[in-house]
């Protein structure tokens, strides 16, 4: 096991501040509060500068000082630096002056933002001497753990609800991971994994490796800021399952401000949920600072977490930054997926539909003023949730290989431009 700690100082309880060594542990022994990595920001400030960044490769690891590994990363070294797309046509659909899409639907290698957190968790797991990695997942995390473990030569176990989309199940099996389908929803998978993690000496990326894992999400914020030429966005909309991504995007922006890489322009962070699983959005609307758990029922399965571990902190971030939360129905999710595809040529999974659909609601309600600029975090790829749109996006016209049949087809359609 590596004795080095790089730019990390300790693990620290977010509730009571008690410190713990940089091991595979995630909960404060005193109050069960989540542990978070504490950094040596003075040391980071000397190493992470715009000059040093200019020489680094275009991956999330260019921000390595702010990611919790002791030495150079060894897993997922090519992850991140996904496109930030200026989405003018989508901006019109949303009713807002300017919109950008941070497109993690094309993240490498498994087409979701989870590659960010997994490359951090597995790099750190190796440093701590683990040979088997595992996770509880709604699908994307399982895909990423399976693929990144395969490329690193690690054994992997992934635990998923048994009713996941076919594409997400195959996308784990193909890499040779041991896939265990649990007859229950994600919260039940999670509970079981917490108990398994107490028994087996594996690196569970979102259980005992969680303090390291969760920090990987900050890289999305770092990239957005750099891609906007170090101007922090006025508004950012992130999807919420456990609420972790939203809190880490906020943390990422705040770290850039602290290091003097970006000016504090008070970036606002908003959270999006599916109505069929909206404990955080419901708490926001009720003006509460804590959520009531729910039993999920939504096509946005990757966001179907009824007991969101970071729900409390997500509500806090929205309150502190002046952000808001809203939620969208299954039909609104599909409509938004279609809008993003038709306006920008980006096919996102249901979670992306949640983000885009909720952004439209937030503009309509004035929570995002029409004259402002917004960044939408699109976190996953539509090819993985084909079931959600199957039979709902039309079907191909079918004709014989005959010019006459084609002409009949086209001439009856007034919308077709024949010149």
């Amino acid at each position: 096991m590596s004795k080095k700690s790089g730019f990390m100082k300790a693990l620290k309880c977010r509730e009571c501040g008690r410190e713990y060594p940089l091991e595979a542990t995630h909960v404060c022994e005193f109050d069960f509060g989540p542990l978070e990595v504490a950094y040596d920001y003075d040391k980071i400030k000397k190493s992470l500068t715009k000059d040093s960044l200019a020489k680094r490769p275009q991956t999330m690891w260019r921000f390595r000082e702010l990611l919790p590994v002791a030495e150079e990363p060894t897993v997922g070294t090519g992850v991140g630096y996904t496109p930030l797309v200026k989405a003018d046509r989508l901006a019109k659909w949303l009713g807002v002056r300017e919109a950008w899409v941070k497109n993690d639907a094309v993240n490498y290698p498994t087409l979701s933002f989870k590659d960010r957190v997994v490359s951090v968790a597995l790099s750190r797991a190796r440093e701590l001497g683990f040979e088997t990695v595992a996770c509880a997942s709604t699908g994307n995390l399982a895909n990423s753990v399976a693929a990144n473990a395969a490329s690193a030569g690690l054994d992997s176990f992934v635990f998923i609800p048994n009713d996941l989309e076919e594409g997400k199940i195959l996308n784990s099996l193909i890499y040779g991971a041991r896939v265990v389908g649990i007859r229950g929803h994600y919260d039940e998978v999670n509970r079981l994994c917490a108990e398994i993690a107490g028994k087996y000496k594996w690196a569970f990326v979102n259980v005992n490796m969680r303090p390291y894992y969760a920090e990987g999400s900050k890289s999305m914020a770092f990239e957005i800021a750099e891609q906007l030429n170090w101007k922090l966005p006025q508004h950012t909309v992130a999807p919420m399952a456990s609420g972790s991504l939203l809190t880490k995007i906020h943390k990422g922006y705040q770290e850039l401000i602290q290091l003097g890489l970006a000016k504090d322009t008070k970036p606002v962070v908003h959270g999006a949920q599916a109505t069929g699983c909206s404990p955080i959005s419901a708490a926001y609307k009720d003006g509460k600072d804590f959520f009531k758990p729910v039993k999920p029922d939504t096509i946005a399965k990757s966001l179907a977490i009824g007991t969101p571990a970071d729900g409390f902190y997500a509500l806090k971030v929205m309150k502190e930054t002046g952000g808001a939360s809203d939620d969208v129905s299954d039909d609104e999710i599909r409509e938004a997926m279609k809008a993003l595809a038709e306006c920008e040529g980006i096919f996102t999974e249901t979670a992306g539909g949640v983000t885009v659909g909720t952004a439209k609601k937030l503009v309509a309600s004035g929570k995002i003023p029409a004259e402002d600029s917004v960044v939408l975090c699109v976190t996953g790829n539509g090819l993985k949730t084909l079931d959600a749109v199957q039979g709902r996006v039309g079907k191909p016209d079918e004709i014989k290989p005959s010019l006459r049949e084609f002409e009949e087809l086209i001439e009856s359609d007034t919308k077709v431009k024949t010149k």
Partner: protein, 91 residues
């Protein structure tokens, strides 16, 4: 009558590394007091100053979150399984 409580890793130092403990109490709330009697110090880990189950502690009776049941008034009967589990990040 007795229900079985599975003790999570962070609390096993208090239970002399016992992974499961039997309780005779009729509800979750009184079971916490019973545990405190057997393993002094365990109650303040589970319950905050206001007497509520701590924000990051999830308690389950036979796989069901007590927040979907009757919280601390959730009844316990012979053979029930109680799990105490810290909140976990998403996936």
């Amino acid at each position: 009558m007795a229900a079985t409580v599975r003790i999570p890793t962070p609390l096993r130092k208090l239970t002399n590394e016992q992974e499961t403990v039997e309780v005779e109490s009729a509800t979750i709330g009184t079971a916490v007091d019973e545990l405190e009697g057997k393993f002094p110090g365990i109650k303040e880990r589970l319950v905050d100053e206001a007497g509520e189950i701590r924000r990051f502690v999830n308690v389950y009776v036979n796989e069901e979150d007590i927040r979907f049941l009757e919280n601390q008034d959730t009844p316990l009967k012979d053979g029930d399984d109680v799990s105490i589990i810290p909140a976990i990040a998403g996936g």
